[in-house]
C-alpha cells in the first residue's frame, strides 16, 4: 500500500486545502507533458490516486485505518488479523484504487502536444469540409441580414 502522505509530502493531519495545494504542486511537476523522465507517468498516476483518496473524507478514513493496520501487521505479524469488516474495507479500497488509477491513466496521456496534433490532423482530414461549413454559415448570415 502506497504512503499517500509521503507521496504528496504532507503531514498526516493535513487538511483538504493542504492536500489540494500539495497535489497541484506534485501534478505540475510530474505531469508527463512537463516532465520527460521515464518514471513521470507512474508518479503522476500515483499522486492522482493519492489525491483522489485523501480529498474524500470517507475514503481518507478508510485508507488511514487500512494503512495503520498494515503497519501494525508489518511490525507484529499476527495470523488471522484481518476479520470480515477489514476484508470488506480492503476490497472497497482496492476498487477505489483501480477506479482512480484508470482515471489518472486517461488524464496522463492528455497533453497540449496531443491536443494540437489531433486538432491539426482533424483540419488536415476535414479541412475542405470545414471550409464549406464556414462558407455556408457566412452565406446564411449575409442573406438573413438582407
Amino acid at each position: 500500500m502506497l504512503d499517500y502522505y509521503k507521496l504528496l509530502n504532507i503531514r498526516r493531519t493535513a487538511n483538504s486545502e493542504e492536500v489540494k495545494k500539495a497535489y497541484r504542486l506534485a501534478a505540475l511537476f510530474w505531469h508527463p507533458d512537463k516532465n520527460k523522465s521515464p518514471q513521470a507517468h507512474q508518479k503522476f498516476i500515483d499522486i492522482s490516486e493519492a489525491y483522489n483518496i485523501l480529498i474524500d473524507p470517507h475514503r481518507r478514513v478508510v485508507y488511514d485505518e487500512l494503512f495503520q493496520s498494515e503497519m501494525e501487521i508489518n511490525l507484529t505479524p499476527k495470523p488471522n488479523a484481518s476479520h470480515h469488516s477489514q476484508k470488506h474495507k480492503q476490497s472497497t479500497y482496492e476498487e477505489w484504487v483501480r477506479e482512480e488509477r484508470s482515471k489518472a491513466e486517461k488524464i496522463s496521456i492528455i497533453s497540449s502536444d496531443k491536443i494540437l496534433t489531433e486538432g491539426f490532423h482533424f483540419i488536415d482530414q476535414y479541412g475542405l469540409f470545414l471550409l464549406l461549413i464556414a462558407m455556408f454559415i457566412f452565406m446564411i448570415i449575409v442573406f438573413s441580414n438582407k
Binding site: S112, D113, T117, G119, F120, H121, I123, D124, Q125
Partner: protein, 139 residues
C-alpha cells in the same frame, strides 16, 4: 503577385529493417519496455517558435484588452505602451497563426502516421520470435 511558400510534410514508410537491427531493438525492448524505436520531433517541438510567438502575442493583446476594460487613461504612457505592444503582438500572432494553419495540418498527419507506424513495429517486434516471423507480421 505575392507568393506564399510553405512546407507540406508527408510520412514515407522507411525501408525494411535488417535482421541485426531487429534483434538489437528486441534486446533493447527487453531491457527497457519504454525504449523508443525512432525518436522524432513532436508537433509542439517542430512549431515551438511559432507557438511561442502566438502565446506572447496573444498575451500582449490580452494585457491591452484588460487595460482598456479597466478604463485606463488614454493619455497615460503605460496605456500607449500596452496599446503598441498589444497591436504588434496581435499582428505577430496573426501572421504566425496563418503560417501554422498552412504547415500544421500536414505535419500533424505526418506525426500521427509516424507514431502509428512505429508503435505497430514495436508491437510486432515484441510479439514475434524470429526475424522472419516479424517480416510476415509487419510488412
Amino acid at each position: 503577385m505575392a507568393t506564399i511558400h510553405y512546407t507540406k510534410t508527408f510520412f514515407q514508410s522507411p525501408s525494411h529493417i535488417s535482421e541485426d537491427t531487429y534483434y538489437s531493438i528486441k534486446q533493447e525492448l527487453a531491457k527497457n519496455p519504454n525504449f523508443i524505436i525512432a525518436e522524432g520531433e513532436t508537433f509542439s517541438e517542430h512549431f515551438s517558435g511559432l507557438l511561442t510567438i502566438i502565446k506572447i502575442g496573444l498575451g500582449a493583446s490580452l494585457l491591452f484588452v484588460i487595460a482598456e476594460s479597466l478604463g485606463m487613461s488614454e493619455r497615460s504612457v503605460l496605456f500607449n505602451l500596452l496599446a503598441f505592444c498589444g497591436g504588434i503582438g496581435f499582428l505577430a500572432a496573426l501572421v504566425c497563426g496563418f503560417n501554422l494553419m498552412l504547415e500544421g495540418p500536414s505535419f500533424a498527419t505526418y506525426v500521427k502516421e509516424r507514431d502509428e507506424y512505429f508503435s505497430r513495429m514495436r508491437y510486432a517486434i515484441i510479439n514475434s520470435n524470429t526475424y522472419n516471423e516479424f517480416v510476415k507480421m509487419f510488412y
